[in-house]
């Protein structure tokens, strides 16, 4: 490689490196703003701003979904397996909304500590499988739980 080409290559490396570092610093500085949602634990710890609408993401607690008589209002608990918050929402839920499923809600905490949501989005996970595989996994999981329970009774 001729000296001039070597120089150009080094300049390019420096340029890409400098841009990379600048962008990395900017992204770290704005880290909190780049988070799409807060977790229930962050909200109960007071890390989320209280004065403007925020998003909270987590799993819908199994057995917590209760529909009001008007058919549109729904109350449920949202958890990140550390903390749980109560959510109230009036409106149409996405198809993937179900117990145990991840969701992201937009809204504000009211005085009673209930999160009043104006929008609920379902979060899909990265797993793709046919129904029979999902069923098989579920049965295997239940059997595993049952076996452990049986073991603990024996002990």
């Amino acid at each position: 490689m001729t000296p001039i080409r070597k120089k150009r290559l080094m300049l390019i490396g420096l340029m890409v490196g400098a841009v990379g570092i600048a962008v990395a610093l900017a992204l770290t500085a704005f880290n909190d703003n780049l988070m799409y949602f807060y977790s229930p634990a962050e909200i109960t710890a007071g890390k989320a701003p209280a004065d403007h609408p925020i998003r909270v993401g987590g799993l819908v607690v199994k057995g917590s979904v209760a529909r009001k008589p008007d058919g549109l209002t729904v109350a449920f608990d949202l958890t990140d397996n550390k903390d749980t918050i109560k959510i109230n929402y009036t409106g149409i839920l996405p198809d993937l909304f179900r117990e145990g499923q991840g969701i992201v809600a937009l809204g504000k905490l009211n005085d009673q500590g209930v999160f009043v949501a104006s929008e609920v989005l379902a979060k899909h996970d990265e797993n793709y499988m046919p129904p029979e595989v999902a069923d098989a996994l579920k049965t295997a999981h239940n059997e595993g739980v049952a076996q452990q329970a049986a073991k603990s009774i024996v002990q």
Binding site: R5, R8, L9, I12, M15, V16, V19, G20, V23, L27, N31, L34, M35, Y36, F37, Y38, S39, G57, I92, L93, P94, D95, L96, F97, V104, E119, V120, L121, A122, K123, H124, D125, E126, N127, Y128, M129, P130, P131, E132, V133, A134, D135
Partner: protein
Amino acid sequence: MRFYHRLASPRHFYRIAGQWIPWLAGIFFVLLVWGLYESLFVAPTDYQQGESYRIIFIHVPAAWMSMFIYFIMAVAGAINLVWRMKMAEVVLVASAPIGAAFTFLALVTGSLWGKPMWGTWWVWDARLTSELFLLFLYLGIIALYGAIEDKRTAGRAVSILALVGVVNLPIIHFSVEWWNTLHQGSTVSLMGGAKMDPRMLRPLLVMSFAFKFYYGWVLFLRARNEVLERERNTSWVRELVEGKAT
């Protein structure tokens, strides 16, 4: 090495690309038909999303291509800046509209899937925003190249822009790991394998190979046109045109 040098000459590139084009097109169509058949008829229904998940067979390969093509363009940009190689410039410029089209396709298919699954067409989370930024980078490269009269200067300018924009690629890829996003994590990765049924994975991979061959095919078509345009005052292009006209 000799092959590389000959490809670097526009005249030989024009000839060699012309020989490859029918093969690339043929392989693309075979893979496309195979991939579409498997994705629509062989792959089983998803346990949660039903049939709507099948858009993944377009969405994910298109999103991979949007990043793959940008990477090729950045490498071509670096080669052009260091070695002042005309053909690298041609590859960069010819790739931009194809990459923009794949990025647009990934955004649109994602949006169509997002409405029934998430409940919204669009959210400003890190993954979606960085992919939209990639589309703007492509459009910026196309616009910048078109705005500068002298094509050698224009080529150098877009090389720098392509190189600067390359920092966006890791951001797109890792956005779902670094930040909370509505977009899910990677289903298929080189290290972690696939969190997907093998009967779903095969059409996905076939489609992604089909898209690669599509890129090769259209790239060569576009690059040949670009070569003719740039070399229009040389004797070999004149001979070619006159030879075909008479």
